[in-house]
Each structure stands twice: as C-alpha cells, then as structure tokens.
Amino acid sequence: MLATKTAADNLAQAAPVKGRSLWADARARFFRNRAAVSGLVVLIAVGLFAAIGPFIAPWNYEDIDWAVLGNVREAGRPSLETGHWFGTDALGRDLFARTVQGTQISLMVGIVGALIAVGVGTLYGAVAGFFGGRLDNLMMRIVDVLMSIPYMFVLILLLVVFGRSMLMLFIGIGLVSWLDMARIARGQTLTLRGKEFVEAAQATGVRPFTIIMRHIVPNLLGVVIVYSTLLVPSMIIYESFISFLGLGVQEPLTSWGALINDGAAEMNNGLLWILGFPLFFFVITLFAFFFVGDGLRDALDPKDR
C-alpha cells in the first residue's frame, strides 16, 4: 500500500512524460540510418565547400595563370606550392576555384529547380485531387500529354531561342520537373479528401482554396520532402546534361556538367585531374542526395516498413 503510494507520488513529481510528435519520431528514425546520416554529412561538407571555397581559394575562377599556360601538363598539376590545389584546366585557370564555382551553380540549379517543381506540382496536384471530377480529369490529362513530350529538346529549343541565361535555365528546368510531383500530390490528396478534418472544415464553411492551403498541403509535406530530396539530384543531372553539351551556363561561369565536359575533352592528353575532381564532387553529391532521400522516405513514410 505504502509502496504504491510512494510510486504514485514519485510519478506525480516526475516531469510529465513528453509526447513524441510524428516529426520527432521521424527524426529519430532518420538518425538511426547510418547511410542517410553520412549522406547528410557529405552534403553539408559539399555545401561548405561551395560556400567558403571562394574565400580560401588563392586564384579567381576566370583568371588565367600565364605561368602555366602552354605547359599545363607539368606546371598545371595539382600542387600545394603553386596554389592550384586541384591543378588548372587546359586554359590555365585554377581548377579549385572553378570547381567551387561549378558546385555553386549546380547546387543552386538543383535546389531552385526542385523548389519550383515542388511549389507548382504540389499546388496543381492538390487542386486536381481536391476538386476531383471533371476538373481532375482535365488537369491530369494535361499532365499525361506533357509527360509524353521529350522535354530536353524543347528545353534546348527554349534556351537557344530566348538566349542562354541562368533565368531561362531555371524556368525551363522548373517547367519540366513539376509533372511527377503533381501526380504524387494528387494521389495523396485523394486519400486526404475523405478525412474527417476536411469534412469538418467543409461543414463549417471554409472556402475550398483555404482548405487546400491550410489542411491539405501541410499534410502532403512528408511526401513532398521525400520526393524533393530525390528531385534535387535529377535537376542537377538535367542541368549537367545541358551544360555537358555546351548549351547550358556560359563561360566563364561553369557547372559540373561543363567541367566534366572540359575534363573529358582533355582526357586524351593525360590531364586526368581536370576530369577527376569535378567528377568526384558530382558523384559523391548525387550519392549523398539519394541516401538522404532514401533515409527520409524510411523515416517519414511509415507504410513502407
């Protein structure tokens, strides 16, 4: 009797048990996943590289080191003494500074492209799924139609016609990328539409658009986050593809695709570092994004386990 009483007192005095939110649960699951955490570490490292690289690089990304030009094979090797830590490219420009610059642009295109895709796609899918019926049918047929067009060609056409600029690249890539997102968001919305809280909102007379923004979209967040981490690498691949063909960012600006293209052209001359360093950053970043994406999916999508 006494024992139970003290136990009860102890319980009463102990701090109230903290509830674990869904997000805290997901965070715990994510951090238990070793591949995902190491992916995150790599991403942070690459991000830091892009952010502070320009301040520690002894050379500028567009300046030509005249001492190296003409003898890139010997003088342009990666070395600590000359300050060309990654060596120079075939024109004698510092590869470290250029890799930093390329990383900045590739990451930026990837993230902005994914943001556009997420914004447009989520809203589009949520609207189609929420209203359903004929509107849904029409909107999804449009997505089907757009999906069966080979986009890269239209995108390159856009870039050529309206001039190659970063803005055009963003718009073009954003236009391409929201279709999958729209489908996924619609599918999720369909299951949410019948839920009680939506019904309650409808019964109290909330306007449809407010319901979508306040009740549907926040509930799509988990799926959207997972999918957008997988979107970033595919946006990076898109951009690199175009830049590899020499149709993307313009000199002296550069991106991973353009750097890999430069490196591939110099491979025959034995200047392997020009290919190696950009390729290394490209591959580890993509790997990291895929691992983080997988980890997030396992963490946020409990159905899958």
Partner: protein
C-alpha cells in the same frame, strides 16, 4: 480492344499537334531573322532569302504549309544554314545510326536489367541480390555523360580494346561502348523495378498456394510470377524510351557517331531553327508513338484493365 486503340490514337493526335504548334511558335517568335547572323547581307538579299523560305508569309500560312508538308509528304522543311541539305537529308543520314545503337541499348537494358532484377528477387538476400542492388545504386549516379568519358578512359585509353568514337558503318566494336554508356542507367532502373515488384509478387497468396501444391520454384516463377511482376517494368518502358532518346544526344556528340543528336546540337549552336524543329518534331512523334505501343501492350497483358 479496338475502341481502346482508337481512343488512345485520338489522344495522340492532339498531343502531336500541340508539340508541332508549340515548337513552331517558339521558332517563329525567335528574335531576328535566321539569316541575320551572316554579316554584310544587304537588305534586298535578306528579303529575297526570306521570300525563298516563305518567311515573309503571315504566321498562319507558314504554320499551315509546314504541317501540310509534314503530314502529306513527311517533309520536315529546309535547313537555314546548310543550303544544299534539308532536314530530311540530315534525318536520313543520322537516324539509322541512332536507331541502331538505340535499339541495342533498349534490348540490353530490358533483358539484362529484367533478368538481374528477377534473379535478385528470387535469390533474395544472397550475394547475387546484393550485387544487383549495388549495381543499380551505383548506376544511379552515373548518367550517360559521366559514364561515357569513364568508359573511354578505361577501354580506349588504358586497355586499348575498343575505339573511343566513330561509327564505321556500325561495326560491332564501334557499337559496344555507345550501347553500354546509353543503357546502363536504364538497365539499373529496370533491375530495381523488376526486383521490387517480383519480391512483392512472390509474397502473395497465390504464389504460396502454387508452392504448397508442390510446384518447383523455377516453374512457379516462370509460369505464375513473371507476368504480374513485369507489369511495372512495362509501364517504365515509356519513360525509359524518352530518356534514351534524350541520352542519345550525348552519345552522338561524345562518340561522334554521326547520329541525329549530333545534328541537333550542331543546329542548336548554329541557331539553325529549321533543323532543331524538324528533329524535335520527329523525336516527339516517335515518343508519342512508342508510348501508345506501351499502353496497348500494358492493356493487353494486364487482365485487370478493361476497356
């Protein structure tokens, strides 16, 4: 079935029109004349050139005659840069090349990827499974423009086994590297999809029944599990085809195969709108046609689809 085919065809036609009209409008609104880049052309000559190509006509006449020529004669129009060749010549020259290695890439991706995925699922959690998963994860970060230089570095520069470019009428050793470079990432995706769906099918009840009545595993897989497990693979073939068409541009440019993608990039750099548009329309039509075939195939195989 017939009405389903007709319905799908009826959807395909407006899609094609949207593509043609869209690219035409893009080309039409492009600033400047296609001939303006040539310096020192007197205005009279410019006007003459534009009249010769019909560019002085009103928009609706231009697009009308373009579509008319395209539909009735498969005439993709002139090139604005090469005076002696029109788009049809370039397509006739480049398309067979692209088609050849594209076809082989597709075959390799489907056969190798499908087999790999299914074997991995059947031998779940063995070294074969891990190998298949490893390959498909690795290939995810090696898109064709990354893989192509690596392949050339290893097989051409270091080992010296295979030529690093050229076509030579499509001899075997010139085809191998383009096919590997183009097919690997799709092979990996197909393997991943096939593995996942096969794993799901193998845990279903009717497979357990088949096993329980004493059928050997091989027979269960071939006879009962294979068809449903391949359905997701079939629905992936459409996107894979689009991806391969896009990827062929990189292959053509990197390996200098003389395929259609090389003309596309050259025309993009030259601002040769006629050629760009012709190739876009051709490949768009191909894609739409292929998607149609995939849809029909899917409807034919999947017993759940009623039309």
């Amino acid at each position: 079935m017939l009405s389903y085919i007709l319905k799908r065809l009826l959807i395909a036609i407006p899609v094609m029109l949207i593509l043609i009209v869209g690219t035409f409008i893009l080309m039409y609104t492009a600033p400047g004349s296609p001939f303006a880049s040539e310096r020192g052309v007197p205005p009279a000559v410019l006007a003459n050139l534009e009249r010769q190509y019909g560019l002085d006509q009103p928009f609706i006449v231009q697009i009308g005659s373009y579509i008319w020529n395209l539909v009735t004669q498969f005439d993709f129009g002139p090139s604005f840069i090469y005076r002696d060749q029109d788009v049809n010549d370039l397509i006739a020259q480049g398309f067979p090349v692209t088609l050849t290695y594209g076809f082989w890439s597709f075959v390799v991706a489907v056969l190798v990827g499908g087999t790999l995925g299914i074997v991995a699922a059947v031998r779940h959690n063995t070294w074969l499974d891990y190998l298949a998963v490893g390959i498909s994860v690795g290939a995810q970060v090696l898109p064709n423009f990354v893989l192509a230089p690596i392949l050339v570095l290893v097989f051409t520069l270091w080992l010296g086994w295979l030529p690093g470019g050229g076509w030579q009428g499509g001899q075997l050793e010139y085809i191998i590297l383009p096919v590997i470079a183009l097919s690997t990432s799709f092979m990996a995706s197909i393997a991943r999809i096939a593995r996942a769906s096969m794993l799901e099918v193998l845990t279903s009840n009717y497979i357990r029944t088949a096993r329980a009545k004493g059928l050997p595993m091989r027979r269960v897989v071939m006879r009962h599990a294979l068809k449903p497990a391949l359905l997701p693979v079939i629905s992936y073939l459409g996107p894979a085809f689009v991806g391969m068409i896009t990827g062929s541009v990189v292959i053509d440019v990197y390996f200098s195969t003389g395929g259609i993608g090389q003309f596309f990039v050259a025309s993009a750099l030259n601002r040769d709108y006629g050629v760009m548009m012709g190739i876009t329309v051709l490949l768009g039509a191909l894609t739409i046609f292929f998607n149609l075939v995939v849809d029909l195939l899917y409807a034919w195989i999947d017993p759940k689809i009623r039309y």
